[in-house]
Symmetry: C2
């Protein structure tokens, strides 16, 4: 189905130079789409022009911030699909500077939706939600009916951003869908600093032959999706009208302990080491224990399931950064 | 307990010239508190100087908007309690102008919490949530564990504003509590227009001897709290450390059909009439069917229950507006 769904379709990706956006862009170009990327290249965020290296002649790039209402009002016009991936994704930054998180994850989502409602009500909008919206797991695996009790400002604002999409579907008839992503990893993720994803930072530490500190025994469970699987999920949701108005969890093939994750990474990298240390109190306060998601709903509705196992995904990721290290370090 | 809890305590009420804020202020002055009201008197909102008529020498009024970060940073200093009631409360306005709703119900909540964290971390903050956060009822009565699936932008933003309070409690240790109000009515509610509460508008229509249109048969169930009961709930929550970090539903004594509500109102007023008409399509799209709340949790934890029955509450309300009509019409 995907082979035909995007041929000559006009596709806008916000956060298009970021980790997931750029991997999605690569796949969409292969599928024959006319891709327009919007990204603000905020230095501390994940946007990186090298992420679309080699594709420069096959897609368009528009540098703009999703907080810029007028630019967005223009850019959404005539598009068939909007993959709405721009976001402030650091939990830590959201607690230090809650206003910026609010501007990007709430206000901009409203203005993008308003732009679509006014300028292009037929567009199909795919939103990237997050398992952070759930907070601590009251039961496992976490399904879409699990209460949303976020534990940081980023989780609250992502929840609000998602529900704006649902409300605009129900009240204004916009076609929207949200995928709640779990921990996504792979080539082109940000590894410059430790404020976005822990795993990106650990990959950097291992490949710098540094020691990775594992907090509190490392038995806490998480699930991981290789980025190609996440891209596939967005494409399946965009191509299937069954997804309209719905919310789907993604999820990993199996829960993985933090210790196993780091052992695998160090083994795959052939570099780095790890050591168990006590929890830093300020991190323990916002830790949420074991969390992993059920992807049964998207599997049954859209036929998606994660295909790339953890070791294979880590191998591909390490190989990528070994080859292109200078552009990411 | 309430007789002693507020003597000489410094109390700040945002939205203090509004419906619930001013009723709360009256009670707190009686209880010996030093009350400071903050209100912006936005013309379309519920703030009304007459709401504190007769109390002018026994409390302080500071005209300011909660969106004004610097004023709030000053005003929260040295206060013992903050009743954080300022809000954009119109569902309809939130869909027409989602940005203003966001600024007041999200951004201002963040800046009030930041002001307290920096200037007065020992303050106790009581937030007014709403049953709108739940959206359509998946089961009845709606308890605090019910999923939050809001159906309009106001519901999304009130949800976010509440969760900022919970996150600031859990991460920063601020003492916060949220009461999720159901339909509140009584003296000093806004009756100028029909965009805030339906019941306020119906009271006006009845007392103007007009016809009230009941949409779609009038069998949908809601619950109602008389404002004195809501004030009592806020005071009980503020006076009892057991409430810290918690979320409590309020709720009515029993579910009441829309038809029964209007029949009671017309009977109490001795004026007005009603007629059944079909649903206007734009309102039916955002209607949420039967909704009423369980107040078991606050009853068990704080001993609160609604005391004023619907007919008695309507009688007091109608009598108030009959006496002071010129200040509200």
């Amino acid at each position: 189905m995907l082979e035909q769904a995007f041929v000559k379709k006009k596709v806008l990706i916000t956060g298009g130079l970021g980790f997931i956006g750029s991997n999605l862009a690569r796949r969409l170009v292969e599928l024959g789409a006319e891709v327009l990327l919007v990204d603000s290249l905020i230095p501390a965020y994940g946007g990186n022009l090298f992420n679309v290296h080699g594709l420069e002649d096959r897609l368009k790039i528009n540098i703009a911030d999703v907080r810029d209402e007028y630019s967005m009002e223009y850019l959404v016009q005539d598009q068939d699909f909007l993959f709405n991936l721009a976001g402030q994704v650091s939990h830590i930054d959201s607690m230090r500077d809650p206003y910026t998180d609010l501007e990007i994850n709430c206000r901009s989502q409203l203005s993008i939706l308003e732009a679509c409602r006014k300028q292009n009500p037929g567009i199909y909008i795919l939103y990237a939600g997050t398992r952070q919206q759930y907070g601590r797991a009251l039961y496992l695996p976490v399904d879409e009916q699990h209460p949303q009790y976020p534990t940081d400002i980023n989780g609250v604002n992502k929840l609000a951003g998602e529900w704006y999409h649902i409300v605009y579907h129900r009240v204004h008839g916009l076609r929207t869908c949200s995928l709640r992503l779990t921990n996504t990893y792979g080539p082109r993720m940000l590894v410059k600093h430790n404020r976005q994803t822990a795993l990106g930072w650990f990959i950097r530490l291992a490949m710098d032959d540094q020691e990775i500190q594992i907090w509190g025994g490392g038995q806490q469970l998480r699930d991981y999706n290789y980025v190609d699987d996440v891209v596939e999920a967005f494409l399946l949701a965009a191509a299937n009208p069954e997804a309209t108005g719905k919310i789907f969890n993604l999820g990993g093939r199996r829960p993985v302990s933090h210790l196993e994750l780091i052992e695998s990474l160090v083994s795959v990298a052939g570099q780095g080491s790890y050591r168990l240390v006590p929890w830093p109190p300020e991190r323990q306060r916002i830790d949420i224990g074991d969390v992993y998601s059920s992807y049964r709903c998207i599997q049954e509705t859209l036929g998606w399931e994660p295909r790339v196992g953890l070791r294979e995904g880590l191998e591909r990721t390490v190989a990528f950064y070994r080859q292109y290290r200078e552009h990411y370090w």
